[in-house]
């Protein structure tokens, strides 16, 4: 049959929902295997993924890797459908909040045994990231990259208010005091943005106050813990003191935009937005470590992992590829592009040097104090309620303590169903 006819048949099969073309093609070529690798960030990381796939084939000539791009907006919907239909990519990107559902419902291949058998040194990755992709004592993914949160500040606004730049010695008291000095609500300038955002904002202070979001065994919500409530209260106080715009204002214009436009003197944001601020014209900013809370220093760490689809036809080859993805060589390729901090120890330097005007070392140094992004088996079942409740509390729609306790009850009910 001619190529054209095959192409047509394949197209027809895809339309009919049977995307079996690629895998059968891989097997027919006499021992040669084609793996598919699913990911969602073509703009920043496509080049690196492409290069990694090619390098891998150099050392494993019998395995070809096809990278398969899906925009993040559709990534998980598509992945969920294809995993249900048995046709997910052999290896794909995974994030923390989605991991629990995929692992607990058998969509991911556990790799603890393979890690042990091949003596892969997981200590080369931040421990909190290994933990993030471990469920019930079994590891399912090897870390790919990571991000932590830092205290971004606008130097011009600090200079104008005569306030010293933040540094590693800052505590919550320094933050509050200086945020007040930096605020000028009449001009629409505020000390800090107390947005009801988890990773960037309130998760960090919950941990700094000694609280928690989900108990380590994933069975209990931490929102009725006094320390957790203390961590939330810092932000609602900042809003009340007019050191932060109201939640309403930050809904109309996001804190990221406010910071870019010189309307926020400080804003806690992840390493992933460094390129955004680096590219903002007229923004004279830098970044410092997050201030220490009453109990400890802490920052949320999150990062992606490469995982293997449980029903892959080529588990051995997929593992070889994941092992390569976790190697120094593959991480170095990632580091060179500068989009993310590679997970492999010692390779963050390349990223840090990619934007010399910022003290990006802060993000790397904070890994020692980092706490994994809070998740449970089915994070999505409570994250909407969490966002609703905290948004309401921060915007004055409900008493903070009562709202947090109510949230804890709802969240415990959701956790009990897992």
């Amino acid at each position: 049959m001619s190529r054209k006819v095959w192409a047509l048949l394949c197209a027809g099969a895809i339309v009919a929902g049977a995307a079996a073309c690629s895998s059968s093609e891989g097997e027919s070529a006499g021992g040669k295997v084609t793996l598919t690798y699913g990911y969602w960030d073509e703009k920043n990381q496509g080049q690196a993924m492409d290069k990694i796939a090619k390098e891998f084939t150099k050392t494993h000539p019998n395995i070809e890797v096809k990278i398969q791009f899906t925009p993040l907006k559709e990534y998980f919907t598509k992945l969920q459908t294809s995993a249900a239909g048995g046709s997910a990519p052999d290896v794909f990107w995974m994030n923390g909040p989605r991991f629990g559902v995929y692992a607990s419902q058998g969509a991911l291949l556990p790799i603890s045994d393979k890690i042990a058998a091949d003596k892969v040194d997981t200590a080369k990755f931040p421990k909190s990231l290994n933990d993030l992709y471990t469920l019930d004592g079994k590891q399912y993914g090897l870390p790919k990259d990571y991000d932590t949160v830092g205290l971004w500040y606008n130097k011009d606004l600090f200079d104008k208010a005569g306030v010293k730049y933040p540094d590693a010695t800052w505590t919550w008291d320094d933050l509050r005091e200086n945020a007040k000095k930096l605020s000028d609500p009449a001009k629409g300038v505020y000390g800090i943005g107390a947005a009801p955002w988890g990773q960037e904002v309130f998760y960090n202070t919950i941990f700094q106050a000694g609280g928690y979001v989900v108990s380590p065994d994933g069975k209990k919500s931490g929102y009725d813990d006094p320390a957790t409530i203390e961590g939330l209260k810092l932000w609602s106080d900042l809003i009340e003191e007019k050191s932060s715009p109201t939640v309403q204002q930050m809904t109309d214009t996001s804190p990221v935009e406010l910071f870019q436009n010189g309307k926020l003197a400080m804003w806690t944001d992840g390493s992933y937005d460094a390129t955004t601020y680096s590219g903002t014209e007229g923004l004279n900013a830098d970044v410092a470590p997050l201030p220490a809370g009453p109990k400890r220093k802490a920052t949320v760490i999150h990062g992606l992992a490469n995982v293997i689809y449980a029903k892959t036809e080529h588990p051995a080859e997929a593992w070889e590829f994941v092992k390569f993805l976790a190697s120094e060589q593959a991480n170095r390729i990632q580091a060179e592009t500068g989009a993310v901090i590679p997970a492999y120890e010692g390779l963050a330097d390349t990223w840090v040097k990619s934007m010399p005007k910022f003290n990006l070392q802060v993000f790397v140094d904070q890994v020692d104090d980092s706490v994994p992004y809070p998740i449970s088996k089915n994070t999505a079942a409570w994250s909407t309620a969490e966002l609703d409740a905290i948004t309401k509390a921060f915007s004055g729609g409900q008493d903070l303590e009562a709202g947090a306790k109510e949230l804890a009850t709802a969240m415990n009910a959701a956790l009990a169903k897992e």
Binding site: A107, T246, Q248, Q249, T251, D252, N378
Partner: protein, 309 residues
């Protein structure tokens, strides 16, 4: 005279009877693609949804039969009552767009109006614009700090709000956008309706001494009532399905979001974000029944006020 008509009809009916079998076949053959399409893409999903509403799903497609559990949960959740109320409020308020559309249609229909096609384009533009673009523009207009609306209000000394971030105003802010988007489409239907009203009725009325107001209420409105009926049925159905504008305009960490969810938005949360597909199906089925009941009620009520000329 009458006999001749009957004879002619009988003569025509004769060959028709012979053709009937063939016509029957071709008639159904012609509508088959449509019926098949309706069946596959509309009816079958409805049947499936009803079935799924009695099941519980895991994320990766295994379902178990749970009987009425989803429905029981549906009637106990406080969120659902609120969402239903919001949906009704939205649907009822969006009816306010109808008088506005009639006014626009009447003005565009006025004799001697210049640049008619220009105005028609202007009013119809929102209909063909993507909801995402509409939502984006209105978000800017409604911005509490930098929005055009608050700027205009400040000129007359009024302090504006963060319109779409305040629980008390957010839903109405969306209603305004919804009406703005629908006026053009409705006006086209009303213009057609207005053009269908015979001129001579107005001439007779003015000879009898009726002024323009009386003419409007005694001639225009009654004869436009079939169009009004059609538009109001569509508006209510569209209002009950409100999703895109709220989803696009609110964003996630919005203080107004939790209190102003509509049924379809809640359905989206449950079925696609939280993965509770069976529960989502139950919501969809209930919404379908509500829509059905409201539509039937409207059809019943039309006898009271709709005049077919």
């Amino acid at each position: 005279m009458e006999g001749a008509v009957a004879r002619a009809a009988a003569a025509r009916a004769e060959p028709r009877r012979r053709l009937r079998d063939q016509e029957w076949f071709w008639g159904y053959a012609m509508i088959a693609p449509l019926v098949l399409g309706l069946g596959v893409f509309y009816l079958w999903p409805v049947v499936q949804s009803v079935y799924y509403s009695f099941t519980e799903w895991t994320l990766f497609g295994d379902s178990t039969w749970v009987g009425l559990a989803n429905y029981r949960e549906l009637f106990t959740g406080p969120e659902n009552a609120k969402a239903l109320k919001n949906t009704f409020v939205y649907a009822v308020w969006s009816l306010a767009g109808i008088p506005l559309s009639i006014l626009v249609a009447a003005l565009l229909n006025a004799r001697g109006l210049r640049l008619v096609s220009f105005y028609r384009t202007i009013y119809f533009l929102p209909v063909v614009t993507m909801p995402a673009a509409v939502a984006l523009i209105w978000r800017w207009l409604y911005n509490g700090d930098y929005g055009l609306i608050n700027y205009l209000l400040s000129l007359v000394g009024v302090q504006g709000k963060s319109w779409i971030a305040e629980p008390s105003t957010a839903l109405y802010a969306v209603v305004v956008v919804g009406i703005w988007m629908s006026v053009g489409y409705n006006a086209v239907i009303f213009m057609a309706g207005l053009q269908g009203i015979p001129r001579h009725l107005y001439e007779a009325a003015s000879i009898d001494g009726a002024g323009p107001v009386r003419q409007f209420f005694r001639i225009t409105l009654p004869l436009l009532s079939p169009s009004i009926f059609f538009v109001s049925v569509l508006t209510v159905i569209g209002g009950l399905q409100m999703f895109d504008l709220i989803y696009l305009m609110f964003g996630k960490a919005n203080p107004a979001y939790a209190d102003n969810k509509t049924v379809v938005l809640l359905f989206f949360n449950k079925a696609f974000e939280e993965g509770a597909k069976g529960y989502g199906a139950a919501m969809a089925v209930v919404l379908m029944l509500i829509t059905l009941v409201l539509t039937v009620v409207q059809f019943r009520m039309q006898k009271k006020w709709v005049h077919y000329a």
